[in-house]
Amino acid sequence: MDIKYDRRSFIKTSTMSVGAAALPLTMVELAFAKPSDNFTFAYISDSHIQQIKGTQFVRNWDRGLIRAVAETNLLTPKPDFIMYGGDLAQMGNKPELDHGAEILSKLNGKVYHVMGEHDYYLDLGEYWSKLFGKQYYSFNHKGVHFVVLNSILTYDDWTFNRWPSAEQRMAEMAGLDNPNGSPFMVGDKQREWLKKDLAKVKKDTPIVVFSHSPLQKIYKGWNFWTEDAEQVQALLAPFDKVTVFYGHVHQIQYNQIGNIAFTSAMATAWPWPYPQSYAQAQQLLPKLTVQMNRADPFFERDATGWQFIDVNSGRASATFNLYNNTTRTVAFDPQAGHPKDKTYQDEDQRISPQVHY
């Protein structure tokens, strides 16, 4: 009895330390200006929890989120909070959102949520809001002003008049390459709210914005796109330090537009091809982006993962914890004035698997 107990606790302890050793624990940069202003948070996105029937869910996608939650809980130092970047569900129904929320409930710490299109287009976010609260909001944390937007809205005619059922509307928006979809947007109402929200904020306050879709235009065919991106960027333009984080794209992307640094999140579910690998279309993947490794389909977690964000003097450094790949860190470089991959940014540092075609 005692032996059994001892062995069990040993396994538990050793598993914990193996997990912890695999995590990037040394990445907190030295603080220089005001050490109290530096902090970290975890960023998990795009889990696409998918119901098969009843209480059966697609195992592969469940595992991705369960792993992200377990690893996030091992982080030392403990992150100040956790941001969930949207697309918790695949078809936006209650069983999927409930199941996803149950997995997320194991996280130790405050969780903030971003709305994804897969969470929204069945009931227009009604059940999601019951679980997670407001669809757009802001908060202040250690001198940084955080803004969360619902960027996956679209034209009213598409949302309200086009489809005979809510289920069909959801299914049409769920297909990334479905030509019946519609471009994402933040919309007039939220932009008006954002304008008012930012009016209270000093121009030298660091701003961090979360959206699900990129607040920049990359490839419309897959909705790597926000229709009113320029108008949102214009509202952010007067601030000295702006960082935008987004999900949706299931791949590493980063960019700099004016004063705004953009960084995407990996999915915990599955990776997406870079749009340039679709031979029939033009796309605008930021030149700055060093692409993630091409995924090995035989490792179901390859090219998926989650992020650990270090906010230092108001600038962000994102560490991509890739389940079957070397960890990557993309950090804002104050001298260059844009985000840079810490290892692979120089042309001669790139590796063969980063070539996509």
Partner: protein, 133 residues
């Protein structure tokens, strides 16, 4: 028997007179062949987004929008995970068995041919590079 021999005679007569040589085809033929191909591509796109292709509702298009990142132009190639030179259909079956948790298809199953037709059509214009990684 009688009908068959009449057809055979007619065919012989045509070839002798040169009315329709085997290497001749008309615009109508071309249009019909294209239509046949397009129909199979369309079926392939249907299967690519069909939640019933596997058993768990996952569809090909979830990971491969517009069949991107499938690279049909690089097959046959050495597939390190299989330890041999493999063809495209073997990788399609890998996906059907694993992420889709489904039953694999025969190489000449009309569904397999439709899936390959669709993926290859989305890759049209890209040069053939068998063996490429």
């Amino acid at each position: 028997m009688k009908i068959a021999s009449v057809i055979a005679c007619a065919a012989l007569a045509l070839s002798v007179t040169g009315v329709a040589s085997a290497d001749e085809f008309t615009k109508e033929d071309l249009a019909r062949w294209q239509e046949q191909f397009d129909g199979v591509v369309k079926q392939g796109r249907g299967l690519w987004t069909d939640s019933k292709l596997g058993t768990n509702g996952v569809v090909c298009a979830q990971c491969h929008p517009n069949a991107a990142n499938t690279h049909p132009e690089t097959y046959p190639k050495f597939q390190k995970q299989l330890g041999k030179v493999a063809n495209f259909w073997e990788m399609v079956n890998w996906c059907i068995r694993n992420p889709l948790e489904g039953n694999q298809l025969a190489a000449d199953d009309p569904k397999m041919i439709a899936l390959i037709s669709y993926a290859t059509w989305e890759r049209r214009g890209v040069k053939l590079e068998p063996g490429k990684h």
